[in-house]
Symmetry: C2
């Protein structure tokens, strides 16, 4: 067994009964348990027992509302807080929107999670698509994508200042003099910008990780620029090695363009594995889940992604080649998920039903089926082939398919020296091999002292 080479990062993306949209209909699913916090605590403990880097949660402040699967019953930051108290080492990543939160409130929530968990928080930074979400926040329609990313950048600058505003040694706790906090080490941020004005300082000491780990999801050109500049880990969806390689190269180049070390930016595509002891068994498992889907619901979701009506299509006829604009045509803002769909259509010419099955597994993420060795081979190929630094794993059915992954695939990766057998750190930054950032105000103070 080799050790200490470049190591994979592996997250378990938690999602009610599993990532397959029909997973809850499976006779052995936890459909009745997803509103129970112990359901999620149990999943997080399983992921931690397998030494995964983190659990991950998606989010949107809106109800999508087709009624065909469980809603998220919990708000992600409170959910992760409950997971923090049920685990000791595993990282805790929640998605939250820069478009619909005030930075002071979000800084407090994630800062508190980082403290409660002893330095295990990660924030998946998204700008949130769609007018439905905007309508829950007093806006008739969502700002255009460029404006959302402009606000997102300002938001990240502000929240970073808030998290930096207490130098690490601001708390002196001097009983004799009566001084608890050295106020000279607590800095107003005095931000006045185009989208935000925030005076600061933050109202709590610096958190264990300095800042939560900055994760990002959103693959348009603006999204990739934002990621190259700010993200320490990037969640992305690709169906082919070639697409993933192109994305990976682009992100690393962008990071370098922003003066960053490309190794400090982890690219983590999604992968949704159906695992069987034989190829045939794995394929049959995949088919079994697809037979549980309700095509009318899948079509509704696809209409949501595409923004066009699809109700006239015949399920067993090929998808019209140019219905989604065709490959290469649609990769502008707000459309990276549709791009994935258009690429599938262009490349594989599926029937409508086949396309819905492809999307049912992972909403555009890479759904694979195979033996444990085949899955491990794919992971290694992407990892060593310049396509991934690790993966966000989307088990089709929880907990069974997480267990299959951790008990059958992870040991092969460990045997190959690609994945840890024990945690070597106790913060998410340590799991990902990222430095703890120095407060920008402490840096300024040090520079002033030196001059």
């Amino acid at each position: 067994m080799r050790t200490m080479g470049r190591q994979l990062s592996l997250n378990a993306f938690l999602h009610d009964t599993g990532h397959h949209e029909a997973s809850w209909r499976h006779p052995e699913s936890g459909a009745e348990r997803v509103g129970d916090i112990t359901w999620y605590q149990d999943l997080a403990r399983r992921a931690e027992a397998a030494k995964l880097d983190a659990v991950f949660l998606a989010d949107g402040p809106v109800w999508w509302g087709t009624g065909h699967r469980p809603s998220n019953q919990f708000e992600p930051i409170t959910l992760l807080t409950a997971l923090a108290t049920a685990t000791e080492k595993i990282g805790l990543i929640a998605t939250a929107s820069t478009s619909y939160y005030a930075p002071y409130n979000l800084a407090r929530l994630f800062g508190s999670l980082d403290r409660i968990s002893g330095g295990r928080a990660g924030w998946n930074i998204v700008t949130t698509q769609g007018d439905e979400a905007a309508a829950n926040f007093g806006q008739d329609r969502a700002a255009d994508p460029a404006t959302r990313y402009e606000r997102a950048q300002e938001f990240v600058d502000v929240i970073t200042k808030l998290w930096d505003s207490w130098e690490d040694d601001a708390e002196v706790v001097d009983r004799t003099s009566g001084v608890f906090v050295d106020t000279a080490k607590v800095h107003a941020i005095n931000h006045v910008g185009k989208h935000l004005s925030v005076k600061g300082p933050f109202n709590a000491p610096r958190t264990p990780q300095g800042r939560p780990v900055y994760v990002q999801a959103g693959s348009s050109n603006d999204g990739r620029n934002f990621a190259g500049r700010n993200a320490e880990a990037i969640f992305t969806a690709h169906q082919t090695l070639a697409d993933a390689q192109a994305f990976y190269a682009d992100i690393k180049a962008k990071a370098v363009g922003f003066g960053r070390d490309p190794e400090s930016v982890k690219v983590l595509p999604g992968i949704s594995p159906f695992i069987g002891d034989t190829e045939a068994e794995a394929r049959e498992l995949y088919e079994e889940f697809n037979r549980l889907t309700v095509p009318a619901y899948g079509l509704k979701q696809l209409e949501g992604i595409a923004g066009i009506s699809l109700s006239h299509l015949e399920l067993d006829e090929p998808v019209p080649a140019d219905i989604f604009g065709g490959a290469g045509n649609v990769l502008d803002n707000n459309r990276s998920r549709l791009q994935v769909v258009a690429n599938i259509v262009e490349r594989d010419r599926p029937t409508v039903r086949q396309l819905l099955h492809r999307l049912a597994g992972g909403r555009g993420h890479n759904v694979v089926h195979g033996t444990p060795v085949q899955i491990a081979d794919t992971i290694q190929e992407w990892f060593e082939g310049g396509a991934a630094d690790g993966f966000n794993v989307l088990p089709p059915l929880y907990p069974q398919h997480l267990d299959a992954f951790t008990s059958k695939v992870v040991p092969i990766l460990q045997e190959r020296g690609l994945f840890r057998t024990e945690y070597t750190g106790s913060t998410l930054r340590e799991h990902y091999g990222l430095d703890r950032p120095v407060s920008q105000y402490a840096e300024q103070s040090a520079a002033a002292d030196a001059s």
Copy 2:
């Protein structure tokens, strides 16, 4: 031992090392532990062991920043989430501002806490004073108090609709048909108002309590009207029985004026008890803590409450009689805390140092010292004398003074039949004897069906 008479409600108001502003300087304080979640988990478990109704947290999205005591190291909703997982029965009340949150976000946070805790969440609704908080949210200055209460009312209407928007039986989880949610039982709220526009519906099922318990703090006339209309429990500060009786009568009358049952509105003044086995011992404990205060810090805080400079005052001279406007003069909006101070000055003619000591214990709350029987007598006198339905207890030093209260005073109250010896319910509504509200949309549906 009598049973089943009217019962006291008792909350433990958690606050870093204790409520006395110098408590952290005490040699046996937990000053080094207040950033550790286990500190708070331990306190909550102690309060639960004594069968208290709830733990309570104050909050403001701003750093007050005199540096003379610990800051809140945790954001309250995440903190209570961590306490939810460490306890089983005790209620969990957090303060949050209607001025600086978006209702959709706050609905999700408290809704999730209610679900994680199995129905133990309470929301202390405040409008938040001061321009410093406003400056963290893009506003040069805070809106005037009347406007803040106007927004607060609209906020409560909106968040109630969100929490009501899923009827209790909306989730059907029908594996055979593939229907998880009966979308006919999930209602858009379509609110368009002066301060807020929110489309809805909420994005998660109705929570165990239907809604968190609505608590309120803010004692101006606008505040009391708001409380009479919306609050199920009211946190308030009074120094004398007579003041508390007047407040109590006014609140109950206002509740009746809004068509409510006055028993569905609990009035809970603060009480900060120094407990000794003899009167002399209790008094010496009180003096010991006051000797730990730093007068310069106390003055700064008082300047904050009064909005005037006080640095010219001599510590051992009497406070000038009319410096705070005098009793009866200042009870307009935004000034209920200052009113308490003015009343002390008018009534007791303290020196500046004496006044600072009075405020050091509980920032205007009733600080008492005495034997366990004396404290129990005071509680009973207020409870039976039309001044209180229970108390928010502010132990000067945690955990020692909470333990003194629960081990010495609570048993006397139990012996007198005034306080439970076991929990009889498992939600905060059940502890307080409040009904679980029916969703307004379910009521409308039922009415439509009946007609």
